[in-house]
Amino acid sequence: MRWPQTVSHRLRSLFRKRAVEGELSDEMRFHLERQMEENIAAGMTPQEARRSAMREFGGVEQVKEECRDARRTNLLENLLQDVHFGLRMLRKSPGFTAVAVLTLALGIGANTAAFSLIDAVMLRTLPVERPDELLQLKRQDPRYAGGGPASFSNLLSFLWDGGASPSFSNPLWEQVRDQQNVFSGVFAWSNNRFDLARGGTVQPAEGSFVSGDFFTTLGLRPAAGRLITGSYDYRGCPAVAVLSYGFWQGHYSGASSAVGSALSLDDHPFEIIGVAPPGFYGMDVGRESEVFVPICTVEISGIRSLESRSMWWLNVAGRIKPGIARAQLIDRLQVFSPRIFTAALPQYWPADEQRSFVKEKLVVTSAATGTSALRQQFDQPLQVLMAIVGLVLLIACANIASLMLTRGVVREKEIAVRYALGASRWRLMKQLLAECMLISLMGAIVGFLFARWGAVLLIRSISIHNIYALGNMPVLLNLSLDGRVLGFTAAVAILTVALFGILPTLRSTSVSLISAMKGIRTVELDRPARFRSRKLIVASQVAFSLVLLVAAGLLLRSFAKLATLDPGFDRNNVLIVYTDLWPAKIPRDQRPSVLDRIENQLRALPGVLSASRSSVTPAEVSYWAHNVYTEWSKGFTDAESLSMSVNVSPEYFGTLRMQFVAGRDFNGGDTATSPMVAIIDQTAARRFFPDLDPVGRTFWIDGIAGQPGPPIEVVGIVRDAKYQSLREQIHPTVFFPATQAPDLGLAGALELRTALRPTALISAVQAAVASVSPAITLEFHTLAQQVSDSMVQERLLAQLSGFFGSLALLLAVIGLYGTVSYIVAQRQREFGIRMALGAEPGSILRLVMLDVISVVALGLLAGIAISVAVTRLLQQLLFGIGPRDTVTLVVAVAALSMVALVAGYLPGRRATKIEPMEALRYE
């Protein structure tokens, strides 16, 4: 019950300081005067009375101080005092403060930027109601308990989708929806790119097909109008659309008239019924859906089928029922899994495939942070980035620690005086640490600003082209201020104080009073351990820099190898035109001839050297595959007989400048009625026709209903080319003439080799295609860009590690130079004496260099040990080079030693130029 008075008392002491001090003085003065009166009354003269009273009282200031102590506000008052004093001291040495703050800002900023990226990609939860209750459903084939087989046959279900691989067909999803009893709400979605334009160049809008309970399960409320509900879950439902908030603001300026108006998606009208709440952009991190439409409308665009049991295009997730534990949920899922899979069994599969299908299980993973293909792709690189910036921070702190040590030496006299005045060591340390914290705080604030800017830059460089989509798809991440990022910055700031503040503070406050008063600097005492802390600091900087240089070297060389790889085709000056004939409503059987006409028209354009078309272009993500059977492949497993297949027109190999090894190209003689032919690449030749000449031999692929098709004759062999990404192993590839294998996918992508810049032909191409049919939609790329986009991860890592590696080197070299200069300056007197006694300047230099070499060597040894241990972690990110690559290590060591030795040599040389007399007089 004394609480309120205690607190108000303390607050008053803090905030009404002047009044409280005044009262204290008054109280003391009153006592003295009263005592004086007593003394006068007892018979003393006024002066005697006064003197006696004061003597009796004792030291007024001491009493006052004791009273202040008794008021128990010391802690906070002292802190404020320290901060005030610290600010003054920092203002007095602006150079030091500026350097320290900037160095720290760089280190902290880089770390915060990296962390905010990690936070946005991996840690941030979806802006929906109670995200931790959300679980995503996935299929698991019991044959591959740890996930799918490594071969790409498992990836066939991976269509153009910005999220993680969808694995549900519509019938399967409907079974889950109707039969489950473990989720309070369950929904499905699938990402898709819609075209807002009606013919001509595509105007893309990212969107999602969603089931009825999508918005309700996520607990979202509309910002305008209404949202899609369960009533839309039937075949033939009306074509409605829900806009994202951003899209509504951007395209309609947030006008309420948008609700109820019509929107054209893939040349079909949709009615806008509402707007999603701000901040929600779908389930996938890194991607923003701008429109949400019901699943039943998917047949309008002709992309998927609602009845097909073997098209896997949906993702499924649900909110766990309250009261059910995860383990319980998984068990219950196992119970009705067989029912679900049996009911949605694809009818035309071979018997053994069907058997494994019904044995599949449903598993769950947390969906609180949404799904993301971005995560899978950048998970490791982001971690590597974090490690790199962490090391840079350590090196930066080491520099600041050296600076603080120097400052401590300069202030030795001041500290000694304060000791003499009665300060305790702890009090002094508190004051010095307060200065460190001020520096750290300022560094953190500036660093935080750097970080915002840096993170945006980083995202822009991975966003040039998302590897899973065609065309420009910017990576859109929510970088808004988040408690986690702020907390991280604060934690890093405190950590840096510990790193660069504690050692110098301890050293500064361990001052020998007598030596200080006499003016002898502690460093001049010839102890064997002098300068040891500085040398250790420099050695550690050298070690960390070496690790960073080695990592940077490995990543840079990886990227260089990748970039200069011969992909098997000529990627320059090729314009790629993707066509979509669907909006033009051209009947299936007429499509090949329409494409032929387009191909001929484009070939005739001025500036086009050659033109061709194919079903898949190099470095494009999606592909077709088939099993190939020959007389010699009887024992092959599924994976071994799988081969990529591409439909091409006769000019294809010429346009791409792919080289033939044997046989001929396709020509006009290969028509729909002539015998089936194919061209295979070298890998296919080696795999399917080992030690034979494949030309003239035949193979089969699957025909209808699992029976082998007609025999196909090999007429030519081309050199291997990289199709999917430059890093991959070459899969065997088989090329078919576009006239002969229409069910292998339309050869709707045109390649034009141009004489000039490919992009210069875009408008001419548009006009030419429009003359054939104006409703055909087009999308343009250059082959060079497509190939380069497939290397985005490697390029980014190379750039970042190169940048930070050089930064680290710079910091370490500055640290080394500074320390050696300092040591040389301290040893002036010693050197002067030596030279006066007859030592050659060369021997002085030798002394200095010996020191430098021993420190650098120590650092290098430690660095080599650390890098050998640590670079193993980079294994998966490297290409064409192992993590223990000795060449890189040797080069890094050599570069670092050279630079370090020069940095040490320069101050050393200065030492030899001094006149001995000057040195002796040096104070």
Binding site: R2, T6, E23, D26, F30, F57, G58
Partner: protein, 109 residues
């Protein structure tokens, strides 16, 4: 002059609290009263008195008010709070127990 260390802190607190239990007093008067009542045996030093007063005020056993002194000057008067009264009673009985216990030991040994 009695040095401050001769009077244990707790004891000084007790004396101060008892002294102002009867009526509010300023610091000088408290010291005078203690000296007089103890027949000049206990002479409280200002270096101990004022810190003790401030500490007791900090802990809210006593409260202060500025008023006019007997010689028409401004002085800081201290008085007991309710909590202080209870505390005084408790400390008094503790002291009784302690001193009689010491007395017993001194008599028998």
């Amino acid at each position: 002059m009695t040095k401050p260390t001769d009077l244990v802190q707790g004891t000084l607190d007790l004396l101060i609290l008892k002294t102002i239990a009867l009526e509010p007093m300023h610091g000088w008067a408290i010291a005078q009263r203690i000296r007089r009542v103890s027949n000049n045996v206990l002479q409280v030093n200002q270096g101990a008195l004022y810190p003790a007063l401030h500490r007791l005020e900090q802990q809210a056993w006593i409260q202060s008010k500025w008023g006019e002194s007997e010689n028409n000057r401004r002085a800081k008067y201290y008085s007991l709070t309710k909590a202080g009264q209870k505390y005084l009673k408790a400390e008094e009985s503790n002291w009784e127990r302690l001193s009689s216990a010491i007395g017993l030991v001194l008599k028998t040994v």
